[in-house]
Symmetry: C2
Subunit: 231 residues, 2 copies
């Protein structure tokens, strides 16, 4: 369960000052499948980075499963990221000198809950890559993959540990419609069958239709918050 | 005018071998606005890299304005890229320690046709950034910009010299629909008013509708080639 209260984020690097989030308050229930939409620059990635404990708000609170994230230490935040959240970044963020198979296994290496042996890591990684249609690409490095294939490696990496929550920042931006639908079916299945909370940013109405709820940001604020009765 | 004849591209790095283009033959007339579509991994970026003289085909010919590109020296290829083509890459490819304003000016620094003074470069760069809605972001570096803003800096950079041809690989993948339409209006205006040839890759039918012609790739081959009568 996510609760944010009057969340503000101001980027201030001396030269540049941007008020990217201006008082965002909302709840996301466990097991929700939420789409976040809004114009370019409206604060979506900023919001996702705070939800994912990758960045801190300037003011306001963020409660994750009842615990105040703003009070946590760096180690506690790292543990949340590694144990609870699967993250798909807007820019993929794959390791460049590393194969698809190794990139996908990274969350298993960081796992504190249990240790994964190398044979098991390989099997889980292959399954995850198969599920996103990349069976022929295990040993390719990112620069040997198309844009949409890199995006799918990032998705497979987010899914591999069956995390409690998936945060996906524009996961289908580089994919054709058929592959996008396959990815959304994966997210929807994990949500409905395993109760995984999914929050995804998208610019596409077709993708947003898979969600139970659509939150629209504009200029750092929540403009609309609509329940979708027929996802 | 672009003419390609039985273009093949095989990526072979020892470990990995992929036949990405399998005999692509087609003409693109001067002043055409062409959309290239197709599934993820079908060869679109590979084709665009060859058109843009950034990569060589494994076999087959590529004639640009009647000259055989496959026979050109590295210097001749660099000149074509700098003088004739504005390129929007799928991954933006911005310089990271460099402001939006400086990133956009790069093609002017490489220009051989004429020299641009620093004051003129600044003015042209500001105009280009204004045209894509980034007037408030001149001094931001890429990591201080949203995904869609980075994409728009890349677009502004491709437009700044009014090149003879624009090659744009998924230029609206990170943009909301309204901003996407604004960008497509820019491309369409440059095409219709200045006669600039535009070849763009897209996964979106709404974007493809702006083109005069849609070429669909599949498994490295041309599957469809349709004239659009109402762009
Ligand atoms: N440097 C490389 N080495 C090996 N294989 C490569 C390399 N670059 C691309 N490929 C492969 O060639 C095929 C075509 O890639 P390309 O990038 O042209 O696809 P695309 O149509 O642009 O896809 P997308 O829509 O996902 O961007 C893919 O299967 C990809 O894995
Ligand atoms: N590190 C930073 N420093 C300064 N400004 C920033 C920084 N990161 C983002 N911004 C600014 O904050 C605003 C919100 O950025 P954000 O990345 O959240 O937008 P977004 O909604 O994800 O956009 P897009 O749809 O284009 O990805 C933008 O105007 C951007 O220029
Ligand atoms: Mg973003
Ligand atoms: Mg591509």
């Amino acid at each position: 369960v996510i609760e944010v209260n009057k969340l503000n984020k101001i980027y201030d690097s001396g030269e540049v000052k941007v008020h990217a989030l201006r008082g965002v308050s909302l709840f996301i229930e466990k097991g929700d499948l939420v789409a976040i939409m809004g114009p370019s620059g409206s604060g979506k990635s900023t919001f996702m980075n705070i939800l994912g404990c990758l960045d801190k708000s300037t003011s306001g609170e963020y409660f994750l499963d009842g615990k105040n994230v703003s009070n946590m230490t760096k180690d506690e935040l790292a543990d949340i990221r590694n144990d609870l959240i699967g993250f798909v970044f807007q820019g993929f963020n794959l390791l460049s000198r590393t194969s698809a198979l190794e990139n996908v296994q990274l969350p298993l290496l960081y796992s504190r809950a249990r240790a994964y042996h190398s044979k098991e890591r390989d099997e889980l990684a292959k399954k995850a890559l198969d599920s996103v249609g990349l069976s022929g690409r295990y040993n390719h490095q990112p620069n040997q993959l198309s844009g949409g294939q890199q995006q799918r490696v990032a998705i497979a990496r987010a899914l591999i540990k069956n995390p409690a929550m998936i945060l996906a920042d524009e996961p289908t931006g580089n994919l054709d419609s058929r592959t996008s639908v396959e990815i959304m079916n994966i997210f929807q299945t994990m949500n409905r069958r395993n109760g995984i909370t999914v929050v995804l940013v998208t610019h596409s109405d077709e993708i947003a239709r898979f969600a139970d709820r659509v939150i629209v940001l504009r200029d750092g604020k929540v403009k609309e918050d609509i329940r979708n009765d027929n996802p």
